[in-house]
Assembly symmetry: C2
Homo-oligomer: 343 residues x 2
């Protein structure tokens, strides 16, 4: 039992957003945490992962995961520390990762599916890295690229959102696979980062220049694998430059998530026919039974200095609504993480 | 050598069409055939294949095959009979299939790549069937479904343009593979045909009813394989009904070929992500080295009465421009063939 009464701060979904989420779409709730029952644990939130996919969870309708209900705590992955336990699975002080939600404490059955907590070793990497390279973005990049993109050494891999959470992992894994890697990112700083820090072969600044020309210049023979986090015009432009038998990994479409009208479908999709290419979706949860293998591989590369993990940390749970918007404005530089408390 | 002078009637491409091809996009040319040289043959055209893909060949720009040049005889596959030969490869009277073009005679080197003639056996099936089930549409359906669609017994296969050339083969091959097969076609006659004659499980008349409701009714568990010949809204609607790990074969997009503006891309393409599905293009020429296997399989099924081939024959080369338009208005019932001459 916690000695003192813990006050839980929460962000609950108040309304389904139209376009970009606005302050009134959130309800802030502050209440004492109830007592812990047998089999339960209390996790104190340290860091929360902020991801473009969260925008999709706020919509009604069928998707790969059920929508967050109105009045429900906003879903979010995060890392935290076990501050109370009536479960043999977790001990006080365990560092864990799981579905904490946008709140300062998670309280529930240790085996509750919504939490799905597992212990992590903070000795392997900083906690924020467990939400990036060693977390869902890293797993998405690793399994999405290798299983769906199926890159071969010598091939040209293009990744959008290159400085973002998934993009950094995709590009670095592709380099380690012997591919030529071209990033697409917004701004010179991000482009410099992925080339100079992460070792990409080149990066096209879509905000300052012609993507089509950049692809012509850097991928003169065309694109073998395109890992798409952006959708919209970017996807359409890359479709004009694919090679025969190209693979397009559909991981996300951040440019379209806040549309109030229809999604922009890829008008150039018949390039798939011309080039006998394929476009295929990836959802990271499908690879859950192999996450330990992905974590092992990425942790090894991190330790060897062959892989880097960059996070952009915003401090304070109260900044959640504004921090989330940074993703859709491309303001984050690296994987966006919300710091909630010190360990 | 022909005893009499042969007059060759040709349709040449006069202009690149904007939207539907109009009469002024064609130039009719009539001229005596030149003398045949060593290594050459003369093929008298009997039947020409009219295909939606021809519309694409009339456009400028990169595609899976070079565009027909302005002033060039319009490209078309066909069957004919060798009426003159100075090549050891073909004898007088041989029935052949190949790239005849929209003309009454083909004259050129027997090994010319544009002709790419091969002998066919008219004893196996009627000549028009050699342009349908045993020709490119049959090969497209056979290899496209099996290699790209990869249907498994018990799965649900949906095919658009179900009564058309490729659609009939796709559906019948899928039935023989043990799949549940739902066609989409325009009009009750076509729907009755594919169900009663070809043995599809059901057919949705998109001109008379709600495609979405039809898919809900006939594919209650969703669509495993969608073989798309149509594109546009139809593709978008099917995307809302796919199952996990679905395969969408992009064979064509007849609804979009005459657009004067941009192609309509599939706004629901993120369903690929939600369902971990893939969309992949197919071009039949990729399977040329295995056509003999496809022909053997389909000929056997035809002979056994387990497969049907329906052609819609328009008589007279002079009707070529109007006959071609039938495809885009859905007026053909079965594979559209232009009869040019009697054997």
């Amino acid at each position: 039992m916690p000695a003192a009464i813990l006050i839980n701060q929460q962000f609950r979904l108040a309304a389904r957003p139209i376009g970009l989420p606005k302050p009134s779409d959130w309800q802030q709730v502050s209440a004492p945490l109830r007592d812990i029952a047998d089999g339960e644990i209390v996790v104190k939130t340290l860091y929360l992962s902020l991801d473009p996919a969260m925008r999709g969870w706020m919509n009604e309708g069928k998707s790969y995961i059920r929508p967050v209900a109105i009045g429900e705590v906003m879903r979010a992955g995060g890392v935290g520390v076990v501050v109370a336990s009536k479960s043999p699975r977790f001990a006080l002080g365990d560092t864990v990762s799981g579905g904490i939600g946008v709140q300062s404490y998670w309280l529930g059955a240790a085996d509750d599916a919504s939490g799905n907590f597992f212990k992590i070793d903070p000795g392997i990497a900083p906690l924020t890295t467990w939400l990036n390279t060693l977390g869902m973005p890293g797993m998405t990049g690793y399994f999405g690229l290798l299983e769906v993109g199926q890159p071969k050494a010598g091939e040209t891999v293009v990744v959008s959102g290159a400085a973002g959470a998934v993009g950094q992992s995709v590009g670095q894994v592709a380099k380690l696979m012997g591919c030529k890697v071209i990033g697409i990112a917004g701004g010179q700083d991000k482009c410099d980062f992925v080339v100079k820090e992460l070792g990409f072969d080149a990066c096209i600044d879509y905000k300052n220049g012609d993507l089509r020309e950049g692809l012509k210049q850097h991928c003169p023979e065309g694109v073998d694998v395109y890992f798409d986090n952006v959708g919209g015009d970017m996807l359409d432009t890359v479709l004009t430059r694919i090679r025969m038998k190209a693979r397009i990994v559909i991981c996300g479409a951040i440019s379209q998530y806040n549309n109030t009208g229809a999604i922009k479908g890829p008008a150039n999709y018949l390039s798939l026919l011309v080039h006998r290419a394929r476009m295929e979706g990836i959802v990271v949860f499908d690879y859950a039974d192999r996450f330990h293998l992905g974590v092992a591989a990425l942790a090894k590369w991190l330790k060897e200095g062959r892989f880097k993990s960059r996070e952009d940390v915003v401090d304070g749970l109260e900044h959640f609504p504004d921090a989330l918007l940074m993703l859709f404005e491309g303001k984050n530089f690296g994987k966006l993480v919300l710091k909630v408390a010190d360990a």
